[in-house]
C-alpha cells in the first residue's frame, strides 16, 4: 500500500527563518545536479499557487504534511504549514517530487514554520515574505472557524481562497451563523475578499447530483415545485452526537435553489431539526426534517484519507483501488448523509424520490415512485473523498461559489430563524 512517505523527496532541512528561500534554492540546485549526473531529466520548479495550512496541533501538522504530499502531482506549489504550538525559531524545508520517471518531472516545496504559543498575532507577517509572486493563495484552515476578534483572523485575510472543513466545527449552529456572517460581510466588502471552500460541500456533491438527476427527465420539474416534505438522515454512533453540517448544507441547498422562504424551526431532542418553509408562487408549505440515524460502522473523516491518497497515487504495483475495495474498506463517517427522501404532492398524484446509502458502503440506490407507475431504481457509486482528494477539489475552484454561499445562508436561516436572503430561484 502506498502512503505519503513513498513520494520521492529530499531530506528535510532545518533552517533559520531568514534562510528559507536561499536554502530552497540550494536544494533545487543540488537536486538537479545529482539528477544530471545520473543522466536523468531535471526537475521542473513550477508552482501554480501558494498553499498556507494552519495546523492547531502536532498531530494535525503531521497529518496535513502527508495530505499535502499527496497533492504534489496535481498541484505543484509552495506549501507553508503553520505548526501551532511548535516551539523554536527554525523552519523545516523540503522538496517533494512527482512523476520522476515519466515525462516532465515536477517538484513542490514544503515549508513547516513553528508558531510558538503567544506568537499567533504575527501569522500574517510570518507567511507574507514566503508567498509566491503573483500566484493565488489558498489558506487551508484546519479546525473551527476563528472569530473576527481572534488573532488568527488576520491569516484568513492573507488568502484569496479560504478552505475549511465544516465537519470540524465544534458547535455547528454557532459556526454556521459565524460563517454566514462572514459571507454577508464579504459580499458587503467589509471583511476578507477570500472565497470560501468547504470540504463538506464537496462531500455532499454526489447527493446533490443524484437528487438533481431525479428531476432531469422531461416533465419532472413540476414535482420540484410541488415538494411538501424532505427527510434527511445523517450518520451518528449509538448514543453520540455528530456534526450535522452536511445535512444542514443539503437542506440549505434545496431551499436556496428552490427559492423557499423560512417560516419556523423546531429543534427536537437527539439532534433532530424540523423546519417549515414556504415555496414561491404556490405558497405550499414544505417540511424539512433532519434526523440522525445510528450506524454501526463509523469513522472519523480523516480515516479515509489514506485510501484517497492511495487512489491518487496509483502506480503499476498497487493498481487502482476498485469500487469494491472502497466499499469494503470504508466505514461511514460521522455526520455523513445517509438518506434523502423527497415527497411531492399534486392533487391525487404523489411522487417520492428516495436516495439511500446501501448500508455503510460508498454506493447508493435511488428509487423514484410516481403515482401508480412501476418504481424506477438506480444503483450508483458515491464518490469517496478523503481529505487529500477534497483538498484537490477545492484547489481547482477559482471563483466564489455562490451556490454554496446561498446554501449556507439558507441553512443559517434554518437554524437561527433569520431570513436568508439567498439568490436561488
Amino acid at each position: 500500500m502506498l502512503d505519503a512517505t513513498m513520494v520521492p523527496s529530499t531530506a528535510q532541512e532545518t533552517v533559520p527563518l531568514t534562510k528559507i528561500k536561499s536554502t530552497l534554492m540550494t536544494i533545487w540546485q543540488r537536486l538537479n545536479e545529482a539528477r544530471r549526473a545520473d543522466g536523468k531529466k531535471e526537475l521542473t520548479r513550477s508552482s501554480v499557487m501558494t498553499l498556507v495550512a494552519f495546523a492547531p496541533s502536532a498531530k494535525e501538522t503531521a497529518w496535513l504534511h502527508d495530505a499535502i504530499i499527496g497533492l504534489t502531482g496535481q498541484h505543484p506549489s509552495r506549501a507553508i504549514i503553520l505548526a501551532d504550538g511548535m516551539s523554536g525559531d527554525l523552519a523545516t524545508v523540503e522538496i517533494r517530487a512527482h512523476n520522476l520517471d515519466g515525462t516532465g518531472a515536477v517538484g513542490s516545496e514544503i515549508i513547516t514554520l513553528p508558531v510558538p504559543e503567544g506568537n499567533r498575532r504575527n501569522l500574517a507577517a510570518l507567511v507574507t515574505p514566503l508567498l509566491l509572486t503573483d500566484m493565488p493563495i489558498f489558506v487551508w484552515w484546519s479546525g473551527g472557524l476563528p472569530t473576527r476578534d481572534d488573532t488568527l483572523f488576520s491569516l484568513l485575510e492573507v488568502g484569496d481562497y479560504s478552505i475549511f472543513d465544516s465537519a470540524d466545527f465544534d458547535n455547528p449552529s454557532e459556526d454556521l451563523v459565524r460563517l454566514a456572517d462572514l459571507m454577508v460581510k464579504r459580499r458587503q466588502r467589509q471583511v476578507t475578499h477570500a472565497a470560501f471552500n468547504d470540504f463538506n460541500w464537496t462531500r455532499i456533491k454526489p447527493w446533490r447530483e443524484l437528487t438533481a438527476q431525479c428531476f432531469d427527465p422531461e416533465g419532472r420539474g413540476v414535482f420540484l415545485r410541488s415538494l411538501d416534505r424532505v427527510n434527511i438522515e445523517y450518520a451518528v454512533e449509538s448514543g453520540e452526537d455528530a456534526c450535522p453540517f452536511q445535512a444542514y448544507l443539503f437542506a440549505g441547498w434545496l431551499a436556496s435553489r428552490l427559492g423557499w422562504q423560512q417560516k419556523s424551526t423546531r429543534q427536537r431532542a437527539n439532534g433532530r431539526l424540523v423546519s417549515e418553509w414556504t415555496a414561491p408562487r404556490t405558497g405550499q408549505t414544505v417540511i424539512v426534517d433532519i434526523a440522525p440515524r445510528t450506524v454501526e460502522k463509523t469513522s472519523d473523516w480523516r480515516a479515509s484519507s489514506s485510501v484517497t491518497l492511495q487512489r491518487m497515487q496509483m502506480d503499476d504495483t498497487a493498481g487502482p483501488v476498485t469500487h469494491d475495495q472502497l466499499s469494503e474498506d470504508s466505514a461511514v463517517s460521522l455526520g455523513a448523509v445517509m438518506r434523502v427522501n423527497l415527497t411531492a404532492r399534486m392533487g391525487e398524484l404523489t411522487a417520492t424520490f428516495d436516495i439511500a446509502r446501501d448500508g455503510t458502503s460508498q454506493q447508493a440506490t435511488t428509487l423514484a415512485h410516481i403515482g401508480k407507475a412501476d418504481p424506477e431504481s438506480r444503483h450508483s457509486a458515491l464518490d469517496s473523498y478523503g481529505e487529500a482528494a477534497l483538498l484537490h477539489q477545492q484547489l481547482t475552484v477559482f471563483n466564489y461559489d455562490h451556490v454554496y454561499e446561498d446554501a449556507v445562508l439558507a441553512a443559517r436561516a434554518m437554524v437561527s430563524g433569520q431570513d436568508h436572503g439567498g439568490s436561488g430561484k
Partner: protein, 517 residues
C-alpha cells in the same frame, strides 16, 4: 461545446453537467465486433461508473448476425470492460450495468428481423421508460450502413425529427464512403431515413483531449491568436505516425491506403482546427462553418500539384522497435503487386488572407519508428536578429507542439541565455503534459458517446465536410491513377524509418525539415 438544450432544473445550477443524459436505448449494430468490445462497451461502462453516472434507464442492445444469447453477449462485454475500461471493474457496478445490456440476433438484410427488433425496443420503452429515445450505432463493416439504415426506415423505427418529444440519432463509424461519389451516395441513402441533424459521423480523433484543447489554446488565450497567421508562422507540420503494420486488416487496407484511411478524415480534421478562423460561438454549426471554409480554401489539387507536392510510399521489410517487420506485400490479404500506399506526405497551401505563404506539411504512415501524433507550429525567426553574431540565427525558431498521442500535451520552444559571463543562447522547451494533472482523461469514445446522447454534434463531422474532404482526396487518387501517376510513383521505404527519402526532399527543398519525433 455546450449541450444544445438545457433543462429547467434549478438544482442543476453549479453542478458539473448543464444537462444530463436522457433515458434512451443505445442499439449497437456490429455488437460482436472488436470495436464494440474494446471501445464502445468499456466507454459506456466507464460513463456509467463515473460521477455523475448515466441514468439507470439507459439501455444497451447489442445487435449482430451471430446466434448469441444475452448471457453470451454480457460475458463478452464483461471481458471487454475488465480489460479496456478506464474505470476500474467493480462486480457490484457491473451487475447493475449488465442488467441494462441485452442482445438481439438480426440479419442486416432481413426486414422482418428489424420489425421484431423494433417491437423489442418498444417493449423496452414500456418496461424502462426510455420514452422512444434511440441511438443507433453502426459499428459494422461499411457495406452494411445503407441496408441497416434502410431497414430501420422500413420497420418504422426512425422518427424523422430533431425536435419531437423523443429523439432518434444515428452514429456512423468511419470509413464514410471511399470517395466523394460513394460518400454522397451513402449520405443520400442515410438522408432518406435520417435528417442530417440526426446523423453523427464519428472521427475519434476529435474526442481526444489535445484536439479539443486546440480550440481552448487558440481562442481562450490572448497570446497565440494575434500571431496565428502567415505573418509570424513559418509553417505547420502534422504527423500521424503508426509503428504497427496493417495487422490483420490487409484486405481492408488494400482498398483504402493511407490517403483514405488517415488523410481524408483525421489529418484534414486536425488541419482545419489549426487553420480555421474563430467561430462565432461554440455551437456545432458555427465551428463546422469555419472548418468548411478552410477546406474550401485548400481547394482541389491539380495533377501538377500532386506530382510536386505529394509523396506516396509503401513499406518494405525492416525492423521496428527492435522487432523484424515484414514487407507490406507479404502481409495477409495484400496483393504481391500491391500499389497501395502505406505512407503519404503532402504539402498544402491554404488560399486565405491568414495563411497565404505558410505551407502545411502533412505526413502519415505505417511501420514508422514511433506511434506518435503531433501538430507542430513553427514560427519565423525575428526579421532582425540582434544575436546573429552570437549564433542566434543557428538556433531553431520558436515552436509550439501539440502532442495528441502518446503523452498528450503541449510544448513551447523558445531561446534563453545560458547562465554565465558570456552571452550564449540556447533553445529550451517549456512542457505541459496532461499527465501532470495526475488524472486519467476520458477516452475519446466516452466523450463522443456522451455527446451523441446529449445531442451535441460539435465533435462530429457533417455531410459537407466529409464530401469536401473526399473531393480533395479524390483529386490526388485520380492524379495517381491518371497521367500524373508515372511522375508520382509509389516509392518504397524501409519499415522502421520515417518514410521514403522523397518525403524528406518534399520539405527540404523549401529549406525546412520534418521534426524528429
Amino acid at each position: 461545446m455546450q449541450a444544445n438544450v438545457t433543462l429547467d432544473n434549478p438544482l442543476r445550477v453549479g453542478l458539473s453537467e448543464a444537462r444530463t443524459v436522457e433515458p434512451c436505448i443505445v442499439v449497437i449494430f456490429g455488437a460482436t465486433g472488436d470495436l464494440t468490445q474494446r471501445k464502445l462497451l468499456p466507454a459506456l461502462y466507464s460513463l456509467a461508473a463515473d460521477q455523475p453516472p448515466l441514468p439507470n434507464n439507459l439501455i444497451i442492445v447489442g445487435v449482430a448476425r451471430r446466434p448469441w444469447t444475452t448471457e453470451q453477449f454480457r460475458k463478452y462485454a464483461e471481458d471487454g470492460v475488465k480489460e479496456h475500461a478506464r474505470q476500474p471493474y467493480s462486480a457490484a457496478l457491473w451487475e447493475t450495468f449488465a442488467q441494462r445490456v441485452s442482445y438481439e440476433q438480426v440479419e442486416f438484410g432481413d426486414t422482418e428481423a428489424f420489425e421484431r427488433l423494433g417491437a423489442r425496443l418498444n417493449a423496452i420503452d414500456a418496461e424502462h421508460g426510455t420514452a422512444g429515445n434511440r441511438i443507433f450505432y453502426l459499428a459494422t463493416a461499411p457495406e452494411y450502413y445503407s441496408v441497416i439504415a434502410a431497414n430501420l426506415g422500413k420497420a418504422n423505427m426512425v422518427e424523422r425529427t430533431v425536435s419531437g418529444p423523443s429523439y432518434c440519432r444515428l452514429v456512423v463509424e468511419k470509413p464514410f464512403g471511399r470517395d466523394q461519389a460513394s460518400a454522397a451516395e451513402l449520405n443520400g441513402e442515410l438522408n432518406k431515413v435520417f435528417k442530417e441533424d440526426q446523423i453523427y459521423r464519428i472521427d475519434h480523433y476529435l474526442g481526444k483531449e489535445t484536439v479539443q484543447n486546440i480550440l481552448v489554446m487558440r481562442f481562450s488565450n490572448t497570446i497565440f491568436e494575434p500571431i496565428w497567421s502567415a505573418d509570424h508562422i513559418d509553417h505547420v507540420q502534422i504527423t500521424v505516425a503508426e509503428s504497427i503494420g496493417v495487422e490483420n486488416r490487409g484486405g481492408y487496407y488494400e482498398e483504402s491506403g493511407a490517403l483514405r484511411d488517415m488523410v481524408q478524415n483525421h489529418m484534414l480534421q486536425l488541419m482545419t482546427l489549426v487553420a480555421m478562423d474563430q467561430p462565432l460561438s461554440l455551437a456545432a454549426n458555427d465551428i463546422r462553418q469555419r472548418k468548411v471554409e478552410v477546406l474550401r480554401e485548400i481547394g482541389i489539387m491539380s495533377e501538377k500539384d500532386v506530382v510536386n507536392n505529394v509523396v506516396r510510399g509503401q513499406y518494405e521489410a525492416g525492423q521496428v522497435n527492435y522487432q523484424p517487420a515484414i514487407d507490406y506485400r507479404d502481409e495477409q490479404g495484400v496483393s504481391e503487386h500491391s500499389q497501395t500506399e502505406t505512407f503519404v506526405a503532402l504539402k498544402l497551401a491554404i488560399n486565405s488572407q491568414r495563411w497565404a505563404g505558410t505551407p502545411f506539411y502533412l505526413r502519415t504512415g505505417k511501420r514508422l519508428p514511433e506511434r506518435v501524433s503531433e501538430i507542430a507550429v513553427k514560427f519565423k525567426r525575428p526579421r532582425f536578429s540582434l544575436f546573429k553574431d552570437l549564433g542566434g540565427d543557428a538556433l531553431p525558431s520558436n515552436l509550439l507542439s501539440l502532442r495528441i498521442q502518446p503523452n498528450e500535451g503541449i510544448s513551447l520552444r523558445f531561446d534563453v541565455k545560458l547562465p554565465g559571463q558570456t552571452m550564449q543562447l540556447r533553445a529550451m522547451n517549456m512542457d505541459f503534459a496532461y499527465g501532470k494533472f495526475d488524472t486519467t482523461p476520458p477516452e475519446a469514445y466516452e466523450r463522443l458517446l456522451l455527446d451523441a446522447m446529449r445531442g451535441d454534434s460539435t465533435l462530429f463531422t457533417r455531410r459537407e465536410e466529409t464530401e469536401m474532404a473526399w473531393g480533395f482526396v479524390d483529386a490526388i487518387e485520380s492524379a495517381w491513377h491518371g497521367g500524373a501517376g508515372a511522375n508520382n510513383p509509389l516509392v518504397p521505404y524501409t519499415a522502421g524509418t520515417w518514410g521514403p527519402r522523397k518525403a524528406m526532399e518534399l520539405i527540404e527543398r523549401d529549406g525546412r525539415s520534418w521534426r524528429r519525433l
